[in-house]
Symmetry: C2
Subunit: 369 residues, 2 copies
């Protein structure tokens, strides 16, 4: 490896969108020299302007290459970097490490199974943000970055990649490609499809009178929010993770069969058991917020006009209260909403007192109850 | 009716929690004299202190009574008010109108089918907020209030109740009890159960290694948020709306069978069709925000520390920009997040310029695309 490295260490980014651009920025901030390209030359030029790259094009001496293209292009690009044309002339060099950022890992890792210097990766950050304009050198700080080493992976290459990922501020989680894909089927792909199914059911049920959708409140809005996204990437995701998605759909269907039984038979104990188990799991989901037992929700009815949220949040800032989460729950069709603030439970009394002093009504509840 | 009314018009509230208390406050602000009681005397005393009631106890002259108890107590309380002991002595008087606020209407409306002066109701407001401390005279402004008149309902009583609901600022939507229950099964009850099922599946799938739940991102958090709620009311809800919930679970199961076929067969056209249909329906959901074609989302990476949200929202307030929706998307485990602001698309340029001027990075996207 050392023979392929120069000073400063050289890296390459193929595909300079949000993730590729952010990787370039993050590496450069940590002293790497980064070359890169994109299928769209305008996009790589923009990445260069924004400071995500030092130079356009390939760097045959790159110690590390991130393939950040759409999933369908990863295998070909990885092979091109692992085995460049003219490589025979430089065959004494071991070549650099190659990784990718695609959201489904099985097919890519299988296609590159013989490549000791390829390690699949999936940074769980910023996926909703599009394009290099949203790129950020600190995008990965505190985020999770899945790595999917396989039996043929060079342990040194894995250790080195893991070290670089950690230097970007991310927590590397090693998981097999199959397990990764099963997990994202459960926490991303099937929930997305279920949200679409629920939204479609509701639209169908209200089709004779669309005003009946006014009966849909905040919980339904939360559950179906992802269904508002553009469907563009989903045919590929579904094709690449077919096995995991089908297996998870089957598990979800079985769970719904059991729930149907619980409802039809009025099995209160089983219902409470399921809901309590789900509640425990949900409040234990890892998050940037404090442990839920210590968090509280303060609800403040507010008018929908400029400055209201600022007034409330400024007041809390002046009090030194950190807001872990903030959300507006809209009255349906109204010109007012409820500002929902998640704060440390220990600060609730001072928050409520201050808000009441400004004429707001408040209510609070512990989130751990 | 007029014989039962006095000046000012007399109303009664049975059950003085969040909804009952808010109704009392709203009626009093509009000139009604409101008597009320609660199964918990401390709660009705507190309602009196907070200005939700003029007096404790029953008012036999009430022109309108709101039964705002838990669902299981509605029928008995309604009968008690409709046919008070000693009523024979006052039989020349028609008696007041009685309505309720329970979330499932079928069993209540069926039990009171012969009562011309009873009309079922369900205000879709504030349901997440507990207790009279959260009561608010303006809680119903701009909200939807379902009314479920039946064949035996006195048309004058219905018209009068509808007028009072409108005077509280709510939009009354008339719907049969059965249709109401079918709809809330689709937009509330089954989504809640599905969220619990998804959360339970994810916890099970990650049971060998809980750190794998770090792979769960914002969409999953949104979808399962309702599963964090206390399960307490659900056995009753499920028992009361059994038919609607079972029918909707069956429809959801059928939809998932079709989705499984689409995934297994790689039917890209059918997948895009479903996702596009769901997306159209989701972005058409009625909301307090502007029409989605005119709204845009601005994302701003921010550190999790006091004052950050205030700085951003204050800046927008100074620019006269209204924030329709605001949310923090947390980096998993990180000490930073992304502030997501929904604003008028026409204000995006000025918002981004101002934020960049303060050293923030921003990205934006139209929500209508």
């Amino acid at each position: 490896m050392t023979t392929a490295r120069s000073e400063p260490a050289a890296a390459m980014v193929v595909g300079t969108g949000l993730i590729g651009g952010s990787i370039g920025m993050a590496l450069r901030r940590r002293g790497w020299r980064v070359a890169g390209r994109d299928a769209d030359p305008a996009r790589s030029r923009r990445a260069l302007e924004l400071g995500a790259l030092d130079a356009l094009g390939d760097d045959p001496d790159a110690a590390l290459t991130f393939i950040a293209t759409p999933a369908g292009a990863v295998v070909d690009e990885a092979r091109r970097v692992l085995h460049p044309a003219g490589r025979a002339a430089r065959s004494s060099e071991p070549g650099g490490i190659v990784t990718d950022v695609a959201g489904v890992k099985g097919p890519i890792v299988a296609a590159l199974a013989g490549e000791a210097r390829f390690i699949g990766g999936h940074p769980m950050a910023g996926s909703e943000q599009d394009g290099v304009e949203g790129a950020d050198a600190e995008l990965f700080v505190g985020s999770t970055w899945a790595l999917t080493p396989s039996a043929g992976t060079d342990p040194d290459a894995y250790a080195r990649l893991r070290g670089v990922i950690a230097s970007l501020g991310a927590n590397a989680v090693a998981v097999s490609a199959g397990r990764h894909d099963d997990l994202v089927a459960v926490v991303s792909h099937v929930p997305h499809l279920a949200a679409a199914a629920l939204m479609d059911l509701a639209a169908g049920a209200a089709s004779e009178d669309a005003t009946l959708l006014h009966l849909a409140a905040g919980g339904f809005r939360d559950m179906t929010r992802v269904a508002a996204g553009h469907p563009g990437i989903w045919p590929d995701v579904v094709a690449e993770n077919r096995t995991g998605i089908v297996a998870t759909l089957d598990r979800l269907s079985s769970a719904l069969v059991e729930i149907r039984r619980i409802v039809a038979e009025g099995d209160r104990a089983a219902l409470l058991d399921l809901l309590e188990r789900a509640r425990e799991a949900r409040i234990s989901l890892p998050t940037g917020a404090p442990p839920v037992a210590e968090a509280a929700e303060v609800r403040v009815p507010v008018p929908d006009r400029p400055g209201t949220i600022a007034e409330v949040t400024t007041l809390l800032g002046e009090l030194g209260v950190n807001i872990y989460d903030v959300e507006i729950a809209h009255s349906v069709e109204g010109d007012r909403g409820v500002l929902v603030l998640v704060v440390d439970a220990g600060t609730v009394a001072v928050v409520q007192k201050a808000l009441v002093g400004r004429g707001y009504r408040t209510s609070a509840r512990a989130l751990g109850r």
